[in-house]
């Protein structure tokens, strides 16, 4: 297992990574949101010994807190993983083809990058401008909308998140990956 946190600093991640024995990496520029079209977390990708993707992006979770949001228990997923690792058995949805990013979603990621760059340089006004632009380009993308919340002093587990979640559900729960029932 390789954990990659789409977070701004190691300090944000340390508490979550406590007790984890597998590698935990920091992706502050959201490379995986681009390269693997990750649009929300958690997203799990199964990669085979030859570097091929055995099962693409899916919204599996490791904690019960997310069970209500995705409808999959962590135990089911871990059993599926065990079957794959031990016997090479893949679930039915493994051959799902993930939709590519749209031009707006790509631009949103670029705008987000400009936002974090500005923020790191201490230019809050410019950062605000770019966070807003990114959010307009990809309003249903959590790696854009929700990730921006703590970077703008907004609680990502508060009202703003619940509003986003509601809008997302209403939009049909769009996600770049295996759809959840």
């Amino acid at each position: 297992m390789i954990g990659v946190f789409l977070d701004e600093s190691a300090d944000d991640v340390r508490e979550w990574a406590e007790g984890i024995s597998f590698p935990v990496l920091l992706d502050r520029d959201h490379l995986l949101a681009d390269l693997y079209a990750v649009s929300n977390v958690p997203t799990v990708v199964w990669i085979d010994t030859d570097g091929s993707i055995a099962r693409p992006n899916s919204a599996e979770v490791g904690t019960d807190m997310f069970k209500d949001f995705t409808g999959v228990t962590p135990d089911e997923h871990m059993q599926q993983v065990r079957d794959w690792v031990r016997e090479g058995v893949l679930p039915d949805d493994a051959d799902y083809e993930v939709d590519d990013l749209s031009a707006d979603e790509i631009d949103a990621r670029l705008a987000f990058r400009l936002a974090t760059h500005s923020r790191r340089a201490g230019n809050e006004a410019r950062a605000s401008h770019w966070f807003a632009a990114a959010g307009e380009l990809a309003p249903m993308d959590f790696t854009i909308r929700r990730a921006a919340m703590p970077l703008q002093g907004v609680d990502p587990f508060g009202e703003a998140f619940f509003e986003l979640f509601g809008a997302w559900r209403e939009a049909g729960s769009p996600y770049h990956g295996v759809p959840r029932g």
Binding site: G3, I47, L110
Partner: protein, 136 residues
């Protein structure tokens, strides 16, 4: 020419460039320094690979090279913050398509919490579960 910061997936670099009508114009050296690709007579080259550049691609104007145009030829999108003099450039679309359509996991290099770099390739020949997560 004044300095402009270029943000790619790998690095942040500062190059000499001018912004004219929304286009970032730099030198051949600026292209190499920011993108790691060299503009040669045979095309845009990196290592053994050369991408041909058509005369009418419109990316070269005398001594000046349109950096956004070069990025586009390489399948990378770009976005300019003219006020802050920063150009952000995406990963090549081909790498993402290799993942999504070709089902080939693109390699990447990122730091661990102690700042040590690791790549996906480091764990090759093993089944891997790549888990994207966040504190949010």
């Amino acid at each position: 020419m004044p300095g402009l910061n270029v943000l790619t997936v790998d690095a942040v670099s500062e190059i000499d460039a001018e912004v004219v009508a929304g286009r970032v114009l730099t030198s051949v050296a600026g292209v190499s320094a920011s993108l790691g690709w060299d503009l040669k007579p045979e095309g845009l080259c990196r290592g053994d690979v050369c991408v041909p550049v058509r005369d009418d691609a419109g990316i070269v104007d005398g001594d000046h090279v349109d950096l956004g145009g070069v990025a586009e030829l390489l399948g990378m999108a770009s976005l300019l913050d003219e006020e802050a003099a920063v150009l952000a450039i995406s990963a090549p679309a081909a790498d993402r398509r290799a993942a999504l359509k070709g089902r080939v996991a693109p390699d990447f290099t990122l730091p661990d919490l102690d700042g040590n770099l690791h790549s996906l390739e480091e764990f090759k020949d093993r089944k891997r579960l790549l888990i994207a997560f966040a504190s949010w």
